[in-house]
């Protein structure tokens, strides 16, 4: 379970929060001009990054405020928390250990890690 440091309330258990998915997806400014593929990209397609991911969280059972979290999805390590509307801080996630860039934690594959 994650411990999330709400920028408004401080550190709380993850149970109080709801994840709102990938952050910084902007609603298209010209909806009538969009093609079906562009709509699909906006509505459905996601980065689903393994590694550093920027995402939105809501303190739904607390202050009910939205904020952004930068998290390493390979290790669940929270790297930064910043408010809605702010630019993501420059970050680098963990040093990759396997050829495709996985850290050894949780990869389920120790045989190809460089150690």
């Amino acid at each position: 379970m994650l411990l999330i440091n709400c920028p408004y309330c401080g550190e709380r258990e993850q149970e109080e929060f709801t994840c709102g998915g990938e952050a910084h997806i902007e609603r298209p400014k010209n909806p009538p001009d969009l093609s079906d593929d562009q709509w699909a990209d906006y509505l459905f397609l996601r980065q689903n990054t393994k590694g550093l991911q920027y995402e939105r969280w809501n303190h739904s059972f607390g202050c009910r405020q939205w904020f952004n979290v930068a998290r390493n999805t390979a290790t669940d390590e929270i790297l930064a928390i910043y408010k809605i509307g702010e630019k993501p801080p420059p970050l680098e996630s963990n040093e990759p250990l396997t050829p495709s860039g996985e850290p050894h934690i949780g990869s389920g594959n120790f045989s190809t890690s460089k150690k």
């Binding site: 994840c19 079906d36 990054t49 393994k50 396997t98 050829p99 949780g106 389920g108």
Partner: protein, 420 residues
Amino acid sequence: MIKRSKKYSVFSLVKNAMSYHENWQPAWRNPEIKKEYDAIIVGGGGHGLTTAFYLAKNHGIKNIAVVEKGWIGGGNTGRNTTIIRSNYLWDQSAAIYDHALKLWEGMSQELNYNVMFSQRGVMNVAHNLHDVRELKRRWHANRLNGIDCEWLNTEEVKKFCPVINTSPNIRYPVLGATLQRRAGTARHDAVAWGYARAADEMGVDIIQNCEVTGINMSNGNVTGIETSKGIINSKKIGIVAAGHSSVIAKMAGIKLPLESRPLQALVSEPVKPVIDTVVMSNTIHAYVSQSDKGELVIGAGTDGYNSYSQRGGFNIVEDTIMAIVELFPLFSRMKMLRHWGGIVDICPDASPIISKTHVNGLYFNCGWGTGGFKATPGSGWVFAHTIANDQPHALNAPFSINRFSSGELVDEHGAAAVAH
């Protein structure tokens, strides 16, 4: 060169018993990697192995490599709660899952490998008026699609599964259930091993501990893959990487509508036979069955955030156990032995993607989310057809990646039996 496995039978069992079972041969080879294959399957889980098996068996393409990052049976195929059923709501899903269920029924014979397929029935329990309406709707939809399904009232539920708590005084009382008697469970890793052995026998090279690091393309055609063991060329590449589909897709510059999340399960200490069916509940989110070893196999829900860490939050486990204990108070003192998480790739409409892509020769079979195990043989069957003919089988045509642009989604959130 390792001697190939022989046909398994009672005679081979007796013969090997004479030598204290010390002379069983490996079930599949550990082959040298060739420079080029007619087709490469990335991912050696159940779906990948069945794809290779049916490419060889149904389409005569035998020069195939299955490239697996870990080892056979070490991924989600060996991590799931082994439930097999086909009582899906929509015609498209019912067709593909029931095709799979029919293949399950002949699988042990076809593979000469006992996958311990047990048609013990799957019961989907209703706890409120909405559940009753929704499940009755699904029951009728199944009936119209020729899928066996019946409705049980509370007394019949109690009769079918006597350990269930049907007291009207619990928070979510049992108001009835649908029952699919042909549904059941199977030994999950035997499925991977059986298909690996059968595919290997037909000449498929199973390459373990080989991680894909890149996809090579030229002029919109796929030409091969880069791996931790070097470059392997092929004009047809099928990606069956489950939770890591987005990672592989990124290597080919493709963005998928997937989110990878942890899905947890747990297993209790072994006890004497107590529950001889599978009980699932959408509303209180619990499902339980008993393995042949006597352990209760309990499935939890997905965590509400993307993660590749193969571990989930304890609150999810707690919620599931609360539901199980309310439905089965006699399990309240049982100890849980093991608990684990796997990474599942969830589609926005809770239906899979079995599809061509805009890159020629590159195919994706992903998005099975929380319920891919039951589809294992059917998924391989249609994906092999898609790869061999460069066009989808009638059963997987509705599961094209283009449905996210066209809007023809196959929304199975409700019929996925548990809410995710």
